[in-house]
């Protein structure tokens, strides 16, 4: 187990940075463009996982545990967030029978 940081370090750090930035922006565009709420949630998860990847890579490069602990916190919070989000969708679906974001248009002005 001790040599996992070494395996991570065989790839230059910039590559992790670029990959996670790319993932993050793919997720961001997904949140802004997609119409189905479930897909929007998945895109938010992609954004969070891009953050996790960057944190784990930097933690391995720095030999510092704080980044990895942060990743554990993010995963726990993301799980709570998704369960809450799905509860909100169920609540809306019971009232409206749809998950299309364009039909949630009662609030405007």
């Amino acid at each position: 187990m001790n040599h996992i940081p070494e395996i991570i370090k065989t790839i230059p750090f910039d590559h992790y940075l670029i990959l996670s930035a790319a993932l993050f922006f793919i997720g961001m565009i997904g949140v802004l463009v997609r119409k189905n709420i479930i897909i929007v949630f998945m895109c938010i998860e992609i954004m969070l996982n891009a953050v996790n990847l960057l944190l784990v890579a930097s933690a391995a490069y720095r030999g510092d545990a704080a980044g990895q602990v942060m990743v554990l916190f993010i995963m726990a919070v993301a799980a709570a967030e998704v369960s809450l989000g799905l509860a909100i969708i169920v609540m809306l679906y019971k009232n409206l029978q749809t998950t299309n974001i364009d039909l949630f248009n009662q609030l405007k002005g």
């Binding site: 961001m28 938010i44 704080a66 002005g109």
Partner: protein
Amino acid sequence: MMLAFVILTLFSVLILFLGFAKQRNLIIPVSLLAVILAIGSIYTKQTFWNHYLADMIDTEGYASVISLLILCTGLGLIPFLHLFQKRGNEELGDFLGIFLFALMGGMLMVCSQNYMILFLGIEILSLSMYVLAGADRRKVKSNEASLKYFITGSFTSAVFLFGIALIYATRGSLSYLQVSGHGDVITDLAFIFIFVSFALKIAIVPFHFWAPDVYEGTPTLFTAAMSTVVKVAAFGALFRIIQFNQAILPVWLDWFFAILILATLLLGNIMAMSQRSVKRLLAYSGIVQAGFILFGFIHLTGDTAWVVIYYLLAYTLSSLVCFIIVHFVEEQSGSDDIDSFTGLASSNPTLAILMTLALISLAGGPLTAGFIAKLFVLNQAVVYGFASLVVVAVISTLMSVYYYYKIINAMFSQSADQKWNTPLIYKGILLIFILITISAGVVPGWFTLYFK
């Protein structure tokens, strides 16, 4: 003060159980007791907990003052939540437990000294608020507000986390205390992500699009919590980030804030003018007030933070009074349209007068806290060379008088047929808020002395 977190957490769980055990009459007194104990524990010094959370939570100085503001907001709001139950919402225990969690999250945000704790605080506060936004679960509007808040909120968290990850990648530490060296391109980029996420959380133009919708759909008493607790906590956390990271902040930070302020003051006011719904109008008014608070962030140091805290106090008091009165009017007439305020002065004079005073304070009328608060923040801007922005601020204040006057005019112009009344205790609490507003406007020295 660390005890305050423990007290709030334990009592929230207790209240969730009280709701479960159908002990509904105990819920409000127990929550009040929890908040009072937490306020008391701010003034106690324990060192026991510090050992476990070394360098992660700082409870000295401004952190304790802003925490006190958050807790007092909660204390003022909890008695009114009793009204929420009367409307046929049986789940009062759940909502009060979650509300205490929200207060705890807000305190955690302003006491944080580490991005990890800050992240946890933001999430505890936001997750609680998503639930409270959807508290009226049979109303589609409330569901929709909850969903919109949830999507923007979790998007905001992701943006914020990416900023943190970039800082960690370049600096190698999540703590505010180990900041050294100078800023570089990646750090600047990280701070853009962090500040944009805070602008989204506080609702500053151009990141304000969610606020009016969410404020309108949320049950009004929880809108009051959203517009006060969340904003105070977010401004407090932003203040701490800026205070501790002075060395590596981008050099263009003041200009970044100046552009946000300019956009917020102009667009917020223009949008507010055309609103018919009072809740939406107050949402835009909150956006404009947030723009004014940002004035205090120009060249922010530990010595000038009291300006921001004073403005937060003035804004919190008036905003709470306005939203609570909107709740009463909404209960009476079934809508929050500006027409339902017509004749309030003859049907319920006390509420009309209290609402008028709160609106005058929001507009910045003399002899109220709002006036002194605006004076302090604008003074800050003049001292640091943003005098032209102050001209915009004065014009924006004049514009805001138009839509505040629209409500006052509706209340006093016509007489209504029916009289209705509100229980004396609620009037008393609102009166206390207004008295604090006025005394903070007449003798600001009492308050600023404490904040300094």
